[in-house]
């Protein structure tokens, strides 16, 4: 047996190895568990690892394959962001509040990927309750960028992006409320997609901002994301916002043979603001080089305008905290989660449990959300932000009359150094300026590796499309990845197995 290095191997290739019995799911799982253990002291990508559960699932996958059963994901090791509930396995949201919380049932996405035959290795670290862009707010310690361990991996799905980039798993789930799949994917040099709002059920995905949260996969390639998303998506009556959209095979465009000009006729919209002031010249150069590749593949570019996109950050910091303050009110020390050891009465128990259980960033956002929803301020803040949200969604509709996809950098910069942003929340918040719009409008969007800065940190480009255009976005990314190898690069291995 020769085990492939998951840092260089795609899900598709691993599945082929399993199918041809070059290695077993158990061997693959054991190899990755050892890699996770070796990398953990440096990268800290995982909150929990489940070797026993993983080995049992791997054996079951091997048995299924031996009987000629199973599909393209049978025996593929994955990791879930630690906000997806996993029955019998700790689900913490990287918070002290849920440090010992064992979920009583599986999230819909967890069930779906289990049924597809994947092997769950563990739960990845995140910003506490998904509130952050650096994975520095995890109660379980900062997570490090595998390309440069003194730099942040991005967030909030930082652990997931790191686990994929470092080859600890070939694919992982994430969630994206303002960019939390795309921004860490960009910072870590991996591929991640946030689908149309409502494509993946939120049942069992611990809520941050319900009208914006959406699950999606992070993997090495667009093809792998398509495989994962096909398994994750689907209507679920347990989530009232799950769309009654028919099941799709998101690989359907990708499997077509490559023509000389596979993107002929695709109109790529370029909003000026995505290439304007405040965007690193290095990032612009990498994205423009990628545009040249896309043109060579047949795409044409057109200018489009998103005049209100600059307001996406301020409305995000009204709407997301408002929804979060409501969602997190359930964490009161009564039914689950942390309860303070000492208190005088019920009110004091609530206040102390929440003061002890939540970190600073979560408290700050709950306070902002409580304020904007409080009596006398609702119209000025919450309603106003909802109106500007409509303007941004309308801007996208106008842009998509002129183009098929919008392209720009995922983030204006490469990953910042650890600890440089926690003292200045506004600076960190502004990093999300290019990603939030898709959440506001509910559009699908993805990040695709497109280069490196001289300091070795990855750069990502973002594709945003109309509702239900996932298959097209994934195909554009796939055709780009067929002629480039940015997504094939892997950081130096850390730790030793």
């Amino acid at each position: 047996m020769s085990l492939p290095n998951a840092a260089h191997t795609t899900v598709t290739e691993l599945a082929a190895g399993l199918a041809t019995k070059r290695f077993s799911a158990l061997e693959l799982t054991d190899g990755l568990l050892a890699k996770i253990a070796a990398a953990q002291p440096v990268l800290n990508a995982f909150v929990s690892v489940d070797p026993d559960g993983a080995r049992a699932a791997a054996k079951a996958a091997d048995a299924a394959r031996a009987k000629g059963e199973g599909g393209s994901l049978t025996g593929i090791p994955i990791a879930h962001k630690d906000l997806f509930m996993t029955e019998g396995l700790r689900t913490t949201c990287s918070s002290k509040m849920l440090e010992h919380f064992v979920a009583p049932y599986d999230a819909h996405v967890v069930t779906a990927l289990k049924q597809a035959g994947t092997v769950l290795l563990g739960k990845t670290a995140m910003d506490e309750f998904a509130m952050g862009s650096s994975t520095e707010t995890s109660f379980f310690g900062v997570v490090r960028n595998p390309w440069q361990p003194d730099f942040v991996p991005g967030g909030s799905s930082g652990g997931a992006a790191v686990a994929v980039a470092a080859g600890l798993v070939p694919a992982a789930t994430g969630s994206d409320t303002g960019g939390s799949i795309r921004q860490p994917s960009s910072f870590c040099g991996v591929t991640g997609i946030k689908p149309t709002y409502g494509i993946c059920s939120r049942h069992g995905m611990i809520a941050f901002a319900s009208s914006l949260d959406q699950a999606g996969p992070i993997a090495r390639s667009a093809e792998d994301c398509a495989l994962l998303l096909t398994a994750m998506a689907g209507h679920d009556a347990r989530d009232a916002t799950s769309l009654p959209h028919p099941k799709e095979d998101y690989r359907r465009e990708l499997v077509k043979p490559a023509a000389a000009k596979p993107l002929a006729g695709v109109r790529v919209g370029l909003p000026e603001i995505f290439f304007g002031d405040g965007v690193d010249a290095l990032v612009v150069a990498a994205v423009e080089a990628a545009l040249a590749e896309l043109r060579a593949l047949g795409a044409v570019t057109v200018p489009v305008a998103l005049p209100n996109i600059g307001y996406s950050v301020p409305i995000y910091y009204v709407l997301a905290p408002a929804e979060a303050s409501s969602n997190l009110s359930r964490l009161d020390g009564v039914r689950y989660g942390h309860r303070a050891a000492r208190y005088t009465d019920l009110l004091d128990m609530y206040k102390k449990s929440r003061a002890e259980g939540f970190g600073d960033e979560v408290k700050r956002r709950v306070l902002v959300g409580t304020y904007v929803l409080s009596h006398g301020y609702y119209d000025a803040y919450y309603l106003k932000a909802q109106k500007v949200r409509r303007l941004i969604a309308d801007d996208y509709q106008a842009a998509f009359a002129l183009c098929d996809v919008i392209l720009g950098p995922t983030v204006p910069t490469t990953a910042p150094r650890l600890g440089t942003q926690s003292q200045d929340p506004i600076k960190m918040y502004l990093n999300d300026i290019f990603t939030i719009g898709a959440n506001m409008a509910g559009l699908p969007a993805m990040s695709v590796p497109c280069g490196f800065a001289p300091n070795g940190l990855p750069i990502g480009l973002q594709l945003q499309g109309p509702y239900f255009s996932e298959a097209r976005l994934l195909n554009i990314a796939h055709r780009f990845q067929q002629v480039t190898d940015w997504h094939r690069r892997a950081p130096k291995e850390v730790g030793h197995a």
Binding site: A240, V368, V388
Partner: protein, 95 residues
């Protein structure tokens, strides 16, 4: 817009989060800058714009009024800080 320290304590009370007075000056600065950013929204003309609460214009789905969930109370209460006879225990509220 600047929030006073009293206002911050009032919000913290509404949010049921105990705040140490020592944290207030720092929090006041941070919230001040967040609301400074948020206040740029006042420049946007939103007259006649319908608020957008959700990404998709979905009507709340209805289902048949029938029991679909089995009784899993004991299972769900395993993670509770304090339970007895199927009830969650909290400090006495009514004397």
């Amino acid at each position: 817009m600047a929030l006073s320290q009293n206002e911050i304590q009032r919000i913290a009370h509404l949010a049921r989060i105990e705040l140490d007075d020592a944290m207030l000056p720092h929090l006041q600065r941070q919230l001040g800058s967040i609301f400074g950013m948020i206040d740029t929204l006042s420049k946007v003309d939103t007259d006649g714009v319908t608020p957008m609460a959700h990404a998709q214009p979905l009507a709340l789905p209805l289902r048949d009024d029938e029991v679909t969930e089995p009784d899993r109370r004991d299972h769900y209460q395993q993670g509770a800080p304090a339970v007895q006879d199927g009830l969650y225990l909290v400090p006495k509220v009514i004397e």
